[in-house]
Symmetry: C2
Subunit: 388 residues, 2 copies
């Protein structure tokens, strides 16, 4: 199978990211940016490996006010990092608990920020600092009187607006997953266990071209309210609903949408719930345009859910950003108020509870265009599909 | 396919974990333990979902000095957490950036620690605090004069020594992956691209019974030193080495070992390097016994590598702990000095560079028994295997 979409990014993509970040750093009076989590390091460098699953070693990237980012990383990553656009790769022999990169990092920061310097570090919602807290506390002491200052706004506003190359990767994996969902009626049948159904769907997505299927949750039964569930040995029977939600990956970019099906037949409550979340999504889609806010999307969807008799849901929002991670900033909530811009990739995810313990969540992926929403997932059928 | 190994854990497994932790907390003068990362939360509660891939919401578990752990989590997880042995599940409607669980967590901590209380929190090597740093700083202020105190030793010493139920899960996935590696000569052939080879191997492992293959790296060529590599479009040709290293998963427990093959033929350097890392592993295996240290393992392997003319390697250690994560404490290094105990699951991973840019790393998985090492991976062939 040939990939229709180019892998990786040309250097100009990374240059554009760095330059935009550097302008924001300067505007915020910051001397450099420090990042240490997988998506941020990948965003600025292109460094792409599942090795982050090993918690042993911290990894650091420093973006100065001009020029390319500087990698301050464990020796094991030197060869892989040398293959990116980063030219300045500094390593230490990790793991080395007595100094796991701190001296090297402090020295690197000192080259770019004077004694009273301010180093941007993401500290806000949806971020965390991926290094031992004892090391972070020591580093904060070590760099004084330099200080770390919250720079969530830099990575947030950069990553929220995708380049066309990024959109193409999300669009590709959404297309693969749409194919997979449309094939579900041929793939699943009553009598399978949840675990067998999961396994069949995962393999099918890989066969269709997903690089990985790291996020796959689902549930079966007459109704359910756990929508982040792992499979059990429960046997699927006629009359069951089945829900799958997957974040599948192409070249480091994720889809994130779900689909519901009914085996054989569905009761009125489930069919009405499906119709309501589908219509809520329509209302959300119709509201998407540059200048609208995530709260506008929330309100448009909430109005339809309320009219449909929703008893609420536990998700806490009705969609979110999407890209290098299965969920990203912003959140579609009543008070998020993020202003939509062209190039933002979002999910719409209205959910309702139609009876105690029975929740239904519908999800689509889109990119914000000048003229409104462009769907990246293929629109779900307007009626709850039956698997006969 | 029927799983030969039971999934999940009975409540007594979690009781034993909690009781051991509670003894250590009391011995350390701590009033409670706070954990907030996936493996620690899963270890104490059994809560198992890929939802952690979403960075949006923090999750907290508080283990008091007696009784069951208390979950302080986003509402979206309530139903899943209610299915575990945890009885006290407290939720807030996350995401809620203005208070993403802080007040609820502070209140929960206050129930278990007085004003001068000390809350254990893992802060040391291989840990991080998975919540926004601004929130962590605010929480530290909020709970004063209570303080967070490093409790890495609690989770480290608990998680390093596996129960027989945990060992059985690692053993099962190691067996699945051993089958997969033994099938590689039938699966791969010269003319495939790296990407095709990766995809074929990933699907094969899933077909053989791995739940997931989240960690898969590899490389092909006459030699390479990037051992955390993602696949490229490079076409495999005769004379190439191929290396795959995978952390595949069964029921939340990981394997972690690699294998090398040569297509058609291998030069003397590669064959000698293979023989040396294989012999180094033999020396490591012979050294494993309760009471020996990780540094004894390191020395046994280093001696063989030095005698084999190793030019060093960039890995920084020669194996590590293994279990819920693809790498865990401890590290086999010259100065780690962790004393081996029965029930520890370890990798041995000696590596050498035999020519500039050409590194070879060999890996096996084992459990420490009274009488020495019990292999969990099926021992690699003593000579570099050829794929004809």
């Amino acid at each position: 199978m040939t990939d229709r979409v180019e892998r990786g990014f040309p250097v100009e993509e990374f240059e554009a990211r760095a330059e935009r970040a550097q302008r924001m750093l300067a505007d915020s009076g910051l001397d450099a940016l420090l990042v240490c989590t997988e998506p941020e390091v990948r965003y600025f460098t292109g460094f792409h490996t599942p090795f982050w699953q090993s918690p042993t070693r911290p990894w650091f990237v420093v973006l100065p006010l001009s020029g390319r980012p500087i990698a301050v990383i464990p020796g094991i990553g030197a060869s892989a990092m040398a293959g990116t656009w980063v030219e300045d790769v500094r390593t230490w022999p990790a793991p080395r608990p007595e100094d796991d990169g701190l001296a090297l990092l402090a020295e690197t920061l000192a080259e770019h920020a004077g004694p009273g310097g301010r180093i941007g570090l993401p500290m806000g919602p949806e971020t965390h600092v991926r290094m031992p807290l004892a090391d972070l506390d020591a580093l904060r002491e070590e760099i004084r009187p330099k200080v770390f200052v919250d720079a969530t706004h830099v990575v947030r506003s950069l990553r929220m607006v995708k380049s066309e190359r990024e959109v193409a990767k999300v669009a590709h994996i959404c297309s693969v997953v749409s194919d997979g969902f449309e094939g579900i009626p041929m793939l699943l049948s009553a009598g399978m266990t949840e675990r067998e159904a999961f396994s069949a769907f995962r393999m099918d997505l890989l066969r269709r071209g997903a690089d990985e299927v790291p996020y796959l949750v689902g549930a079966t039964g007459p109704g359910f309210d756990d929508i982040i569930k792992q499979p059990s040995d429960r046997v699927i029977v006629d009359g069951d609903l089945v829900m799958f939600d997957t974040g599948s990956i192409f070249d480091g970019y994720s889809s994130d949408f779900d689909r519901y099906y009914a085996f054989g037949w569905a009761d009125d409550g489930a069919r009405r719930a499906y119709k309501t979340v589908w219509e809520a999504t329509e209302a959300g889609l119709a509201t998407v345009r540059p200048g609208a806010t995530t709260s506008d999307l929330w309100r448009a969807m909430a109005t339809v859910l309320d009219a449909g008799g929703s008893l609420g849901n536990s998700v806490g929002r009705m969609g979110h950003g999407l890209g290098m991670q299965v969920t990203e900033w912003p959140s579609n909530t009543a008070d998020d108020q993020t202003v939509l811009e062209e190039g933002m990739v979002l999910t719409l995810e209205p959910g309702l509870t139609w009876a105690p313990g029975r929740m239904m969540v519908h999800e689509e992926n889109l990119v914000v265009r000048a003229e409104g929403a462009e769907l990246l997932s293929r629109r779900a059928p307007a009626e709850l599909p039956l698997i006969s």
